[in-house]
């Protein structure tokens, strides 16, 4: 019996039974949330290890032993199709979710409505896990909606402050419009090809690439760029991520924009469309958006005075790097440069999830202990909160890309591939990094400056907030010590597996 179904069943069980468990009291509720997310992390590691050690896709059919119907050669049931990319992201999602839940034990202690909070955070994790393992277009839409609705509600969770409500409303309208675009694309694909399974769609589109499939791809790219916060439509991100509670900001910035945006874009582009239409044009579109995002996001980060808003704009900038890597991977499909760029993008997704989670947890600790996130009032924090400041130092150094830490290797892969492909793109990427450095150095000077009045009485937060930060620091440093081993052992096989569309198709419909 496969362990894969428990990746969904355990968080689902946890979320559904949360109202009953919370009748037993506050302790039981927190313990249940931690237990469920820890078990999910265990299952995710097992699934990742299985896929990684065998280098085989896991195909799991819901409701039968085989996806194909009786006496026919097309899939009729929903199926899960997990390749290394999906398994890797599932691991990261489970890990960051676990950290965020431990962190919120203390961070959210003074809020009301915590029963709903833990339900929603488990559902958010469930939605992302569902997206990364699914192999069916409509099922992808359903889980995208689960993830989105949970995050709308969590952004506006503190309903007694106007920032949260305003940010929640903006996020909800933009996100629902994007979901509608994606649903329209799925409807068009069904109308033309009569199936919803991703791998069989790939076969059908390769046989008959009509105009409809291209229009549907246009709708997918539009909707998913909305969801990932690329630049012309990044306004919701810079409002929603600072307004949410910090544990949620960490999950939103670290995971949601990647799983719901970039992962889905990559999966659709590589696994469905890669060989059937001229993928080069699509790649250049993504590169264009990536470059604009890179410059604007990082440049906007420099001029912010609100710490969480600075981090949110920095997230926009980092999404630009990832989009750039994926775009080069698409235009140079099948060459060595493309592989390097793709591996760099995947590596950067993982790294950025860890770094940005750490940074938002630091911001939350400061907000919780000092009560403000305005950088002009926070000078001299390092003397009062040395551990938190150290965590910030590590996170900032990693996101800028200093060599001993993990951000260096992934950024280096993206620079290297873009230099080989087109030096102009590399120049843009370096320019973005310069802006990024400026923004973080500014925060650093604030932290180590002369102590101001606001921070006089600040002290370190409690254990439940310190421990997740320490674990994340440890993860960043360990990943920084073995960058090229990780790149060779995990990221390059992931890129190769993602690129291997034939394997993805054959695993479902057999040796066609």
């Amino acid at each position: 019996m496969s362990t894969l179904p428990f990746l969904i069943i355990i968080p689902l069980l946890g979320a559904f039974s949360m109202p009953i468990i919370s009748l037993l009291g506050e302790k039981a509720r927190s313990a249940w949330a931690v237990l469920v997310s820890a078990l999910t992390l265990g299952v995710a590691s097992k699934v990742f290890y299985d896929v990684w050690s065998t280098k085989q896709l896991i195909v799991y059919t819901l409701g039968d032993t085989t996806p194909l119907g009786k006496g026919v050669n097309f899939p009729i049931r929903i199926l899960w199709e997990v390749d290394l990319f999906g398994a890797l992201l599932a691991l990261v999602v489970a890990f960051v979710g676990f950290m965020a839940i431990i962190y919120s034990l203390e961070y959210m202690k003074h809020d009301t409505g915590l029963e709903k909070y833990y339900t929603l955070i488990l559902v958010l994790e469930l939605g992302m896990l569902g997206i990364v393992i699914t192999g069916d277009m409509f099922n992808f839409y359903v889980f995208l909606e689960i993830m989105s609705i949970a995050s709308y509600a969590l952004v506006a969770f503190r309903n007694d402050t106007w920032e949260d409500i305003e940010a929640g409303i903006k996020y909800m309208f933009v996100g629902s419009l994007a979901s509608s675009f994606i649903l329209l694309g799925i409807a068009l694909l069904y109308g033309q090809y009569g199936t919803l399974t991703m791998s069989y769609l790939a076969v059908k589109i390769a046989q008959n690439p009509t105009l409809v499939s291209k229009v549907a791809l246009g709708f997918f790219i539009g909707g998913l760029l909305f969801k990932s916060g690329a630049v012309p439509v990044h306004m919701w991100l810079s409002d929603a991520h600072p307004a949410a509670p910090s544990s949620i900001s960490a999950m939103l910035s670290g995971l949601v924009i990647k799983v719901g945006g970039v992962y889905a874009l990559t999966r659709i582009a590589f696994s469905i469309y890669a060989t059937s239409i001229s993928i080069k044009t699509v790649g250049w579109i993504i590169i264009f958006f990536g470059c604009v995002t890179l410059i604007v996001g990082n440049a906007m980060a420099v001029i912010q005075t609100d710490m969480k808003r600075l981090f949110a704009f920095s997230s926009v900038g980092q999404i630009g790097y990832i989009l750039l890597g994926i775009g080069i991977g698409l235009t140079a499909y099948g060459t060595k440069i493309g592989d390097i760029a793709l591996a760099g993008a995947i590596y950067h997704i993982v790294n950025h999830a860890l770094m940005k989670t750490l940074l938002f947890l630091v911001a939350g600790a400061v907000l919780h202990q000092v009560g403000t996130k305005n950088l002009n009032e926070l000078s001299g924090l390092a003397k009062k909160m040395p551990l938190t400041s150290f965590a910030f130092l590590i996170g900032a150094a990693a996101i800028v890309g200093l060599p001993p830490l993990n951000g260096f290797a992934s950024k280096w892969l993206i620079y290297e591939s873009s230099t080989l492909y087109n030096p102009f793109l590399a120049a843009i990427a370096v320019l973005g990094t310069a802006f990024c450095t400026a923004a973080y150095v500014r925060v650093l000077f604030t932290f180590f400056g002369r102590p101001s009045e606001v921070v006089e009485n600040a002290k370190e937060p409690g254990k439940a907030m310190i421990i997740p930060m320490l674990i994340l620091i440890l993860a960043i440093i360990i990943m920084g010590l073995f960058p090229w081993q990780i790149s060779d052992k995990i990221m390059l096989p992931t890129a190769n597996m993602l690129k291997d569309q034939l394997h993805y198709v054959v695993a479902v419909i057999g040796g066609a």
Partner: protein, 98 residues
Amino acid sequence: MKKALGALSLLFILGILLIVAHPDYGLKFGFGGKDWQTYRYTDEYYIEHGIEEVGGTNIVTDIVFDYRGYDTIGEATVLFTAIAGAVALLRRWRDDDE
């Protein structure tokens, strides 16, 4: 300027959708006979085999709960989430009296 740009992009989207809807370029309406077998093979499979494989005479329910049952549990989760979210958002504020 902004308004004109928005209107233009709206018209562009509508135009593309209408081109797609034209039978010569893309989608067709009302398949029958041989076309039905080539374009709606999955629906045909469900209509043929639904009763023996699942047992319900309502094929839509067979699909909703068996063939695509996983979608339905997702849908139930969406409902659960939205209601939890709505109840959480409509709870009392921290500084409300009573």
